[in-house]
């Protein structure tokens, strides 16, 4: 982007980095969090050991934990930028896992067809919800809440409220791609399974889609002001529908990964996934009312939320504390965005006033 840089040198007034870079606030908070944990570890060990929180093995460990919610959070970012929300993802993930597990171990469809059936289920159901949301003036919150309960019911009916056990047919998704590599710090085995790479790849693709394509920018337009988008000749209904369809694809892929990790199709697999992913997305700075946000912010939110539990374990704090910490992080991260924007507005207004009175004194 050499052209952008060239004009900035022309006469770009100083803008606070909190305003210029959307993700600066949350990144600052995340980095402070990491520093605090590392310091605590150093204090606890008396500075004799390398802090395990930032050891390669632990970082890869966090990546494995957040891979699946991460994929769904990337989709949720898209949905929320378009002005929607999706509460059904958790139960949809359970449903897809159960369908895929049934396909493999009960209906004997074969591994690949079962995966395809699972993913298509997610796409079809999300598209259906997207259709209703784009045609009916009912809040997506309500429609997807209905979807969530419905999917739970379907899933329980399919598996007779029991778990569907598999024999590791999906293990290829969690094989270690760098088997044998040791962590130079701790000496433990490093693990990168394929699904972590899939998560990073999908995040990159959706990030590019949102930032650099016509389709992506139109999602922002629809979420920001759907009336203006309509008047600009954008097919608002089609946009809303397609965003949910894409969400279905991502949830489908994520659910298969989830099933591979746990190896059992069970209703509890996706429980709470919607809450976690929405939390990740809002921590990352996406506005609940739409029109604002990006995948980079969501990635920060994903790693932030994912590393809290991990850090609590390393500090040997009881797991109950995790909830308190997670909750506080959400509140702090989201209000910090508001506080910093109000503050920079206040600063710029003061500057503006100074400029105006300066003009006036010059004129009079």
């Amino acid at each position: 982007m050499s052209d952008q840089a060239s004009t900035k040198t022309e006469k770009a007034p100083w803008v606070s980095p909190f305003k210029r870079f959307e993700n600066f606030t949350v990144l600052t908070i995340f980095v402070s969090f990491v520093i605090i944990i590392v310091l605590l570890q150093l204090i606890m060990t008396g500075g004799t050991k390398y802090p395990t929180f930032i050891s390669p093995v632990n970082i890869l460990n966090i990546m494995q934990q957040v891979g699946v919610p991460g994929i769904v959070a990337v989709g949720m970012t898209m949905v929320m930028i378009s002005g929607g929300i999706d509460l059904s993802v958790g139960m949809l993930a359970s449903l897809v896992s159960i369908v895929t597990a049934l396909g493999i171990s009960k209906w004997h469809l074969g591994v690949v067809p079962s995966i395809l059936v699972g993913i298509s289920t997610a796409v079809v159901l999300e598209t259906l919800m997207g259709f209703i949301i784009s045609r009916v003036k009912v809040e997506p919150f309500i429609i997807t809440l209905g979807g969530m309960i419905t999917f739970q019911g379907i899933a329980l009916l399919l598996c007779n409220s029991r778990e569907v056990i598999m024999n590791g047919e999906l293990n290829f998704i969690k094989t270690n791609l760098i088997a044998g590599t040791k962590d130079p710090v701790t000496g433990l085995n490093l693990v990168i399974p394929p699904y972590v790479l899939v998560f990073l790849l999908l995040a990159l693709l959706v990030g590019l889609l949102l930032k650099y394509t016509k389709y992506g920018r139109r999602i922002y337009a629809v979420g920001n002001n759907s009336n203006a988008a309509f008047l600009a000749g954008i097919n608002v209904r089609a946009m809303r529908l397609s965003v949910y369809a894409l969400m279905g694809l991502l949830v489908g892929i994520g659910s298969v990964m989830l099933l591979a990790r746990i190896n059992v199709g069970i209703i509890t697999l996706g429980q709470g996934l919607e809450i976690d992913t929405i939390a990740m997305v809002v921590i990352g700075g996406t506005a609940l009312k739409g029109g604002k946000g990006n995948v980079l912010g969501t990635l920060i939110g994903v790693f932030f939320l994912g590393s809290i539990g991990n850090a609590m374990n390393l500090l040997r704090l009881p797991s109950e504390v995790q909830f308190v910490a997670k909750g506080l992080v959400i509140i702090v991260a989201v209000s910090a965005g508001y506080v910093s924007s109000t503050f920079s507005e206040f600063l710029s207004r003061r500057k503006g006033l100074a400029a105006v009175s300066g003009d006036a004194s010059k004129g009079g």
Binding site: K214, R218, A221, A229, L231
Partner: protein
Amino acid sequence: MGEILRLSNVSKTFAGVRALQGITFDLKEGEVHCLCGENGAGKSTLIKVLSGAHQPDIGGEIWFEGRKIDLTPHLALGLGIQTIYQEHIVFDSLSVMENIFMGLEREKGIFLDRKEMRRQTVEVLEYLKSDLRPEMVMGDLGSGQQKIVEIAKGLVFKRKVIILDEPTASFSISEIDNLLEIIKTVKKSGIGIIYISHHLDEVFRVGDRVTVLRDGRNVSHYDIGGLTKSQLIKDMVGRDPSTFYKRESVPIGEVLFEARNLSGNGVRNISFKLHRGEVLGFSGMTGSGRSELMELLFGGARLDSGEVRIGDRPVRHRTPKAAIRNKMCFITEDRQNTGLFIEQTIAQNIVVANMVNTRNFISSPARDLKVAEGFIQKLSIRAKNARVRAMNLSGGNQQKVVLAKWFNTNGDIFIFDEPTRGIDVNSKQEIYQLMVGLLKQGKAIIMVSSDMPEVISMSDRVIVMKGGEMVAEIGKDRISEEHILTHSIGEKAQ
């Protein structure tokens, strides 16, 4: 200069009401053609016909570059007719560049061609001598700058006609100067501009020709050279005063309410006295600060300086609650949103404002119904009973419910903001009678109205506002349409 657009004999009827009648209008390349007229003269309807939002009645013709066409919004844009509405229809979280290109993006392969879009944006912004940059976020810009972005869009896509509806409504003086300069630049590129404004100064500064509308008809066409403001005003007014409502006169008593040098909420230095039995009219064009002043009086906005006195006692209304306690009532302009709880019943609406004054912790639906039934009788509200929802009433009856709500608080000082907007003729008269009834009880009325006959027939005195300040106070015997209009849009009094 070739002709771009021509309307001949265009009429538009809504449910039997003639909004436009036999309009002729034409626009040439590279000219600014101004449309003038009072509120309700048909300017907005004409714009909607030009942008394709309304189709004219049978017999009316629209010609574009020598071809007769049937305009639709889509076709209008396709032909290059861009309407820039008074309220901003923009994406405030997106950049200037994205606002310009949204819906008509340039692409290179599957990705956006940001470089090209940026180049075109910079080119147009430079041509307009604007200091805006493509990457600025729309929401950070002032309304003057947002308007320039919308005009820039017209240039990027080589539009042939740009319609500007009250573009300077919320502008500062420097923003107005800036916009007028930009319009002169745009005009040079051959674009035809239709400019609608209440501000005659602006019309004389940028206009090449003027068309005056009154009550949906063409009154006159002028070239700007040789035209005077007084001629223009004379054309805009000209109703027969003998057709106006005749109000019963009521003796005027002592001072009940006084404003001393009020400033805040966009208005400055407002002083007036209001007497018992008096209607004090506030006139002025949209954006002159009338509604803002009323909000200030009622405690809906912060008072920066000045003093309000009720009787001989200074008061300070920090919230509407305090104002209601001091026996003030505010019949707002927007019945649907601020006047009524539209989905609730008549009874619930009527008792709501008086809750400030009652000490009843538990509300009694039976008592509320009884109170409401009383008002339904007294104000002859046409509804089956007090359980009918406000949304199911006609405009006139809704307004009566709003009145009943305030009568129920037993207030003394009534602020009416547009008391009869969107109300049929019969209900209008009833509302007027109810207002006179208040005066007879020794109460006082502050009335904001854009309906000129209403101002003239109801007011004992009229204060004219312009740009947030009082520009004139007109006594009963001197109230006339021409007089008011001269102050509200023209220059200083003679």
